[in-house]
Symmetry: C2
Subunit: 179 residues, 2 copies
């Protein structure tokens, strides 16, 4: 199915390549940035999975307590004919309910953006009902793959939520990330 | 199906973003590199589609007449939480049978690498027979999508071939590209 292929492609073409390299990138970031990410439990890629597929290119638009800080150093790999294809992660400051800052490596699961856009293209023959079903299947498949992956153990956190919460008022997402 | 989702994702999440920007990148490359890409018919992304899914990370290994030259300037887009996600294309020198150089923007269709790797993962439940069928479906679906895409018209060439040719001896791929 659609979700099956996207989950495997997301793992084989991205997470399996980048997650084993994450710890080194965080360590070198800490060296040049005063040991900002102190807590090793946060040394993970937080992957946002809104079941509504509502993906924002700018996280501050979702929750004003979340602010872009910096990118970690990029990884460059010669891949399928592209020389030095670039892979990078973004570091965010997340304020808690007392406005204290925490730091978090954060991004949406990009394949959900494909699912959203497919459901808007008439010729893709992919309805909104298909999309919800495939989004849940994407999550279950991805979770299974990652739970069985040696290379990725302990290096990610899947943050699944409805996606239609009014995050602006409630600061839903920052609270969810800091749980 | 798997191929349906990968073809749509490849279009919506990559080709639709990068192909409209290709001409500007070629023009600015020409300004700083003595008008190297002279022939406008070559101002296209040549997308390699070996039906065998045998994808090489280094094209010179496939055909010694094909040599990496340079990357065009990268495109950076804020996408799904990644600030300045980088998209780049590689420019290759391709020698013809008289050893004269031609220039070509070239890369494999990345989803074929996912199909290949899925067929090697036992838990993906995806056989080599599935893979060949899905690769053909990927090509047909992608061709349909691109033929109906205003944004991508005239900016790509799908280069489909078996993939098991002994390109090294016969220089199959360079000849195919220069046809
Ligand atoms: N040649 C090439 N150069 C690129 O820069 C590129 N970016 C995407 N793609 C291909 O387009 C399609 C859609 O991409 P999407 O981002 O939705 O999914 C991507 C995305 O969710 C994740 N991923 C891959 N590279 C990155 C990256 N650099 N940053 C974040 N996520 C990434 O893993 C999925 C599979 O990636 P690929 O298997 O490399 O092929 C993709 C895919 O077939 C590319 N293909």
């Amino acid at each position: 199915g659609v979700a099956h292929g996207l989950a495997w492609s997301y793992y084989l073409g991205y997470l399996k390549l980048v997650l084993p390299e994450l710890e080194d990138r965080i360590k070198s970031y800490n060296v040049s940035h005063g040991n900002l990410l102190k807590h090793k439990e946060t040394w993970r890629l937080h992957i946002l999975l809104p079941l509504s597929c509502s993906i924002f290119d700018n996280l501050a638009d979702v929750d004003s307590n979340i602010e872009f800080l910096d990118n970690l150093s990029e990884l460059q790999i010669n891949r399928a004919g592209i020389k030095g294809r670039s892979y990078k992660h973004s570091l965010y400051q997340v304020l808690d309910e007392d406005k204290r800052p925490h730091y978090c490596i954060l991004e949406y699961a990009t394949p959900l953006k494909s699912l959203l856009e497919m459901s808007k293209e008439a010729s893709a023959e992919f309805t909104k009902e298909d999309r919800l079903e495939q989004t849940k299947l994407f999550y279950r498949t991805l979770k299974d793959i990652l739970d069985n992956s040696q290379e990725c153990r302990g290096r990610f956190r899947l943050v699944i939520y409805d996606g239609r919460e009014d995050s602006g008022k409630s600061h839903f997402l920052s609270k969810e990330l800091l749980r």
